[in-house]
């Protein structure tokens, strides 16, 4: 699907040639109600951060072919269809800075069937959009991914799986994290055709499956809890499905029995019964350390003790960066009633030294966040400190975007781009602590 606004977030980037950065490009949706011949496209004035780029100087790419405005006006065999974007390339030596820009566009179309007295056909749009800088190439051991959770609400309503993958690739990430029961049509028995499509799309967008979120719903029925054997069976089902799709870790979320997220006691026997299977499939089982549970806490300690006791190298921690939250979050969470603010949205502010202590046991990091403003400031999560801690430890692994702020349409997509711009910008500056 295309994004509803005329100015697409996906595809906004700087352009380069042999001489360096030459300008930027924008993708536009056709603002008219019909497709038109390229000759009827009369250019688009662009203003970025108040700086005008008049339409005469731009180049248009339609249906894979690139035109100056004069060439487009004279063209005979190219169209701007309703279901295809146009790419507008704008000369601007040095390009745009990494971060959020204010963009205004006025698309001019000629419509021969509308009398001239009605005025010219000009379609105006304005938005902010984010330039994500290229990776700086420093061998830092971190790899960037995105969880489909970030697109909750948009997926299946204005975004297909393929759109999500295109978005992730477009911002330069290479990892994709999914929710098993959520993003797999027909779960737990997806159609073989869907599995083929999944692998084909991974290839096409250059993405690596990272973590697979699963649940063990211990309170699935009202009259009794799951048995350890039932828990084991659910874990096996998800482990095998994760393997089929190419994932290298799963995060099973067990039902909890206390406000501090103590998992249901079946977790230990259930997990223990699949450790050999996990080793055989080479999938790491990762319990999630999630606010309001800090790192120094009996729940986390129980996971560390389990590692110690079993000696397994296929059971490690997953850190959700919400535990480092420094300010309360008061929006974006539906489904909670009778509480001003659920405990997990209070600032837990786990110290970096605690993270450093457990990093040897951490397999995966969900880069949870809620809001990044127009200046690329995260209002809640201290990314500079987190990145510095990871670099100091030489930690290697995936940092997987998990946007959890307000679920307005398109906001997750925009915020994930901002987060990647922020992380990449910090990457160079976040020297070891």
């Amino acid at each position: 699907m295309l994004e509803r606004p005329i100015i697409q977030q996906r595809g906004f980037c700087n352009t380069t040639d042999d001489t360096g950065v030459t300008g930027f490009r924008l993708l536009l949706r056709n603002p008219n109600y019909r497709g038109v011949a390229g000759s009827l496209v009369d250019g688009a004035d662009v203003i970025v951060d108040g700086h005008p780029f008049p339409r005469e100087a731009q180049r248009w790419t339609l249906q894979g072919r690139t035109f100056t405005l004069d060439e487009l006006r004279a063209s005979t065999d190219v169209r701007w269809q309703l279901d295809e974007t146009a790419t507008l390339a704008v000369d601007h030596p040095g390009g745009l800075s990494a971060g959020v820009h204010r963009i205004e566009v006025a698309v001019h179309l000629r419509r021969p069937y509308i009398p001239e007295v009605a005025g010219p056909s000009v379609f105006r749009a304005a938005t902010t959009a984010t330039i994500v800088p290229d990776d700086d190439g420093t061998p830092h051991g971190l790899r960037y991914g995105v969880s489909l959770y970030s697109y909750s609400g948009d997926l299946y309503t204005s975004m297909t799986l393929q759109d999500a993958m295109a978005d992730i690739a477009d911002l330069g990430a290479t990892g994709i994290e999914i929710l098993g029961e959520g993003n797999i049509p027909g779960y737990p028995h997806p159609d073989p055709d869907w599995i083929d499509t999944w692998h084909r799309l991974l290839d096409r967008y250059g993405l690596t499956p990272t973590n697979y979120g699963s649940w063990v719903d211990t309170a699935m029925w009202r009259d009794r809890d799951l048995t350890a054997e039932e828990g084991r069976a659910q874990l096996e089902r998800d482990l095998r499905l994760a393997k089929l799709l190419g994932f290298t870790s799963i995060r099973p979320k067990f039902g909890v029995v206390t406000p501090e997220l103590d998992p249901h006691p079946v977790w230990q026997p259930a997990v223990e019964r699949v450790l050999d299977l996990a080793a055989g499939l080479d999938i790491v089982i990762c319990p999630e350390i999630h606010s309001p549970t800090p790192i120094r806490h009996p729940v986390t300690q129980a996971y560390l003790d389990f590692i110690d006791r079993t000696g397994s190298d296929h059971f490690k921690l997953l850190i959700d960066t919400g535990i480092f939250q420094t300010a309360p979050v008061d929006d974006g969470h539906e489904g909670f009633e009778g509480k001003k603010r659920p405990a997990f949205l209070e600032p837990l502010a786990v110290p970096m030294s605690d993270l450093a202590d457990v990093l040897p046991h951490v397999h995966f990091i969900q880069a949870k966040f809620f809001e990044i403003d127009d200046r690329l400031t995260d209002l809640h999560i201290p990314w500079h400190d987190i990145l510095a801690t990871l670099r100091t430890a030489g930690w290697q692994g995936w940092l997987s975007s998990e946007y959890e702020g307000r679920r307005e349409p398109y906001r997750g997509r925009d915020q994930v781009r901002r987060q990647h711009a922020l992380l990449r910008s910090l990457n160079g500056s976040a020297a070891p602590a």
Copy 2:
């Protein structure tokens, strides 16, 4: 795609069995960020027009199977996936009246991984939605269709072609009108697979292709107008493509040369050169009578003279009901600058007697409208008078919804449902004038 709001417009209808109308049903999107086992669905309280329907009394259909709430709570092998709707059936003998209803829903889900202190997981949604009455079965010769133009902005951003067809079928219409250059991917050379899919979907949704909108862009280039031969070639291209897709009329919109929509003079020689082809393909070519051009006007008269002169029965009029507009329209039209209100949005208020006069030459009616309020009152178009005039004349043909109001997401879908509810409700009462 699913509709973004939890309460789906599509699928809202009364339910019947042998005893008559038993209640109504609603389709819901899963409001959680993950799919869940059916046993974790704890019902949904529904309020319609202030009348509560508690969750205990409802039946849920998930993945094709129907459950009481108790059965759902005890279920072991059914799920509510993120990409599938749940159908909620509510007992209400006699059902809901035709028209717009205020619906509030509170979906209860159990989430074992969220501590109970966080409160129950209740997801609330509210909307208006429209019950479209069944056709009254009167043999009145009118057939109801919908133009994809109604879904401009939504199509390709939150709605696929299949979604549009499902929406049209869901409201009981049987005709589909398209814009050739707009709704055919790869126009004018769609992929054979797409053509197969088109015919398969027509079959699936029981839809008949009606009218195919085309353009002859006489001012396609800035330095010269199209020749009559070029116009003919464009007409031939669209006639053949329309035939391939099963359409029985095309509306070629020629470029205009006056504020009153006088078409470019190539229209006559261009059309004349394809009259035999149109007869051979059995496709009626329909110039559109569109505000600000009334019926008693040299432009319309020229079309009638053309019919007279050529004796063709494959050239007839298409009436856009915007010509009957009784109040000005001031919203929903992008692309116009320098004019308070384009001429075609002023009320032209063509008298019904003029319509009656030309009806023998009218092949197709685009049921243009802009806004229908919560009481099913159209603010601009006098449907009672139009329907009465058509019935008096015994006119037979398609009335094809063409929503042209504000392009807010989902508004076109909602308004088309309202229009069909209005037209069906009037059908019985609009006795011949």
